[in-house]
């Protein structure tokens, strides 16, 4: 009996050790190339929260974050890629910008790691801008879209109607000019914020199909489309009307946002992440960019899943890097939504968080619920020098150095 009890105890002891051994993982350190270096970035707090959650769930995986300013990261990332030195996991834009990275052999395809259950948690079409030749090269953490943010208090104080049509937008610009208020702003020096404004104008005037054909260089695509020319000329008209600060072409996005956040600018076209900065400010609302009567594009949006986390092709810890990439994408989607910095692109039940969601985020969600289409931003959809050309030409439009017609004529070079 004694022998039996002793044997059973020994067996029990062995069995209790097995799970402990199974839980033992090799300590791994991963690098993460991130944007949101500034405390003022709306996505920074939810991203930090996501990293904390990751550390709790995977304590053996240590993450070293390389924080960067968004524009600086694009430069740094391109430089690192040229030396095959991308971090294990990194933030990157989707579409043509990601395609260039993939073509350079910098990004790991995630197909081997993604199972149907995980893929099923993504919203429809979430991977469209990060899938090339059937291979998935990134996981999105937000469903992006650009909207028109309005300082409601300034509109009310100056008795101006929130614009719903192009003519009302021009009337609002005139009214604010007369009142000595800066009607709109954008960060011309960084180029991409200006591109965001140019894109939505061309989308409204030309409709989704014509603009999609142009920026994705599809068959029949041309910038000489009447609607696109009208959109570019509308941009030039806003510039001529003095809708922007005098030195708008030199301002970085950060610089342009200072007076906007201080309540000195009436309107601002920016991505959904700006909602996070405005979440606790009652004066601001988000509306769809004004419609153009006669064009079926009132509920078409620029954006969609356009930013993702990717894994470096040469990471030494592909499994752990995938875990980090997938965890951050899915959880930042949720945390970003709750903080107002993003729209979810992973399915989740938010019913218990309803009262946590900022009104401005609800407004953006309501707008996107009505969306008829999402089109990737032109500078993201286009690759390399085509993307550069679009941003340069949009900056020239903003500087008043070219007309809308010239803009479209010059953009035709991407088809040559």
């Amino acid at each position: 009996m004694k022998k039996f009890v002793a044997t059973m105890l020994a067996l029990l002891l062995c069995l209790s050790v097995v799970p402990a051994l199974a839980d033992q993982h090799e300590e791994v350190t991963l690098t993460f190339g991130s944007i949101w270096s500034s405390e003022s970035e709306a996505t920074r707090a939810p991203f930090l929260k996501t990293l904390e959650e990751f550390a709790e769930q995977y304590p053996w995986i240590h993450v070293e974050v390389d924080w960067n300013e968004a524009n600086a990261w694009k430069d740094k990332g391109d430089t690192l890629a040229s030396q095959n030195a991308m971090p294990d996991v990194f933030y990157w834009n989707a579409g043509g910008i990601l395609k260039a990275m993939v073509d350079q052999g910098q990004v790991m395809a995630l197909n081997d790691y993604l199972d149907d259950e995980t893929l099923g948690r993504l919203i429809d079409g979430a991977l469209a801008n990060m899938t090339f030749d059937g291979k998935i090269y990134g996981l999105p953490y937000t469903n992006a879209c650009s909207v028109l943010y309005c300082n409601k208090a300034l509109f009310e104080a100056n008795n101006v109607k929130i614009p719903e049509t192009w003519d009302e937008l021009k009337a609002a610009v005139e009214a604010f000019k007369a009142a000595g208020v800066t009607p709109m702003t954008t960060g011309g020096g960084d180029r991409w914020p200006t591109n965001m404004l140019g894109d939505i104008l061309m989308l409204r005037f030309a409709g989704d199909e014509a603009f999609r054909k142009a920026v994705f260089k599809l068959e029949g695509g041309t910038f000489l489309d009447e609607g696109l020319i009208a959109g570019a000329n509308a941009f030039a008209e806003l510039v001529e009307m003095g809708a922007f600060p005098d030195d708008v072409a030199a301002l970085t996005r950060d610089e342009s946002e200072v007076p906007w956040h201080d309540g000195k600018v009436a309107m601002y076209v920016m991505g959904q992440w700006e909602g996070g900065n405005l979440a606790d400010k009652e004066d601001f609302i988000a509306v769809a960019f004004p419609a153009v009567p006669g064009v079926d594009s009132a509920n078409a949006f620029m954006g969609g899943p356009a930013e993702e986390f990717a894994v470096a092709a040469y990471t030494e810890h592909p499994e752990e890097a995938y875990l980090l990439c997938q965890f951050c994408a899915e959880n930042l989607s949720k945390n970003g939504y709750l903080s107002g910095a993003g729209l979810p692109c992973w399915k989740a039940d938010f019913s218990e968080y309803e009262d946590q969601i900022a009104p401005i985020t609800r407004q953006i969600v309501a707008l996107t619920n009505e969306a008829t289409s999402f089109l990737l931003w032109g500078n993201t959809a286009l690759e390399g020098e085509d993307s550069e050309l679009l941003m340069d030409q949009t900056l020239l439009l903003l500087s008043g150095e070219i007309t809308g017609d010239e803009f479209c004529q010059n953009m035709e070079a991407i088809f040559e």
Binding site: N71, D75, D78, T79, S82, A100, D103, Q104, G188, G189, D190, R191, P245, D246, D247, V248, A249, A250, E255, P259, E383, G384, E385, S387, E388, L389, D392, L395, L396, S399, G400, E401, N410, A413, E416
Partner: protein
């Protein structure tokens, strides 16, 4: 020691580490860039002979529709001109004044040198604030005296953006050249200056006839640094305007061509052009100064 150095094998052993370092980190990268510059290398092609295109990239960077490289080269030449004809004379003037022994000489010398020790990022950000339309010191001053400010702001206005980009760089390195020239002026033997004074040389005559000719080697160094610095200018332009249209210089254009447009072949050709441009002007300077020296020795 003399015995050791008289043996050429010994000399070779001493020189070898530097030669190897120079070969691996300068000669080979330049040679590789030269090779890449003859390839049609993009994200969709590989840097192999299969994509050899000869001098096409060199021709394209100057003639392709929409290429901003010719403008970038023109801008760098303008900057080089400003460096040689504005920055260096001003530095020389400051050096001459300080070397004469003004009151608080070392204080002024340090003050002029402070911008040199500051990072370009700091100087760039500082000048972005100075140029700001609303709160920038420059516009506040101009408005205070009733003068007009440029429409669109200093860094975006078509007429001012290029020079507004160059001024901070010129400003930053005045102290550097001044210090080099000041050091050379201070090393002139007091006997020579005393003799010149006895002969009646004062002020400008002393400067032009005695001091400047005696610091010619240092002036040549300053001129070389100034020209080479102009052709490889990058950091300040990147910070002030990101090299956007109208302010591009060869290095910013090369960077965009390589890392934004992903035309590595053309980007390498641009890099080779910058290297060649720097070498060419250095050689030219050497020839000019040698000729002058020969004339003087006759």
């Amino acid at each position: 020691m003399r015995k050791v150095l008289s043996n050429k094998w010994h000399i070779m052993v001493f020189v070898l580490p530097t030669v190897l370092f120079f070969t691996f980190f300068v000669i080979i990268p330049i040679a590789m860039s030269a090779f890449y510059s003859t390839l049609n290398w993009t994200t969709k092609t590989k840097p192999t002979l299969e994509y050899f295109v000869g001098f096409k990239n060199y021709i394209d960077m100057f003639t392709a529709k929409g290429s901003s490289f010719p403008d970038a080269v023109r801008h760098s030449l303008l900057y080089a001109g400003a460096s040689v004809f504005l920055q260096l004379p001003f530095s020389l003037l400051l050096a001459l004044l300080l070397a004469r022994g003004v009151k608080a000489e070392s204080f002024y010398r340090n003050i002029y040198f402070i911008p040199v020790i500051l990072s370009s990022v700091v100087v760039g950000q500082l000048w972005r604030k100075i140029y700001n339309n609303d709160y920038g010191l420059l516009n506040l001053f101009l408005r205070a005296i009733g003068a007009e400010t440029p429409k669109g702001g200093w860094l975006a206005n078509k007429g001012t953006r290029l020079w507004a980009t160059f001024v901070p760089v010129l400003w930053q390195y005045v102290g550097y050249h001044m210090l080099l020239m000041y050091g050379a002026l201070k090393s002139i033997s007091p006997d020579i200056l005393e003799a010149a004074t006895v002969d009646g040389a004062t002020g400008p005559i002393m400067a032009f006839r005695i001091q400047i000719p005696l610091i010619r080697p240092m002036l040549k160094v300053c001129l070389s640094f100034s020209l080479i610095g102009s052709f490889k200018l990058y950091d300040m332009v990147k910070i002030l305007t990101d090299g956007n249209i109208g302010t591009e210089v060869p290095a910013t254009t090369m960077y965009r061509e390589m890392f934004k447009s992903h035309n590595f072949g053309t980007g390498s050709a641009m890099a080779m052009f910058i290297v060649a441009e720097c070498l060419l002007f250095t050689v030219l300077l050497n020839i000019i100064f040698k000729d002058r020296d020969r004339e003087r020795s006759r």
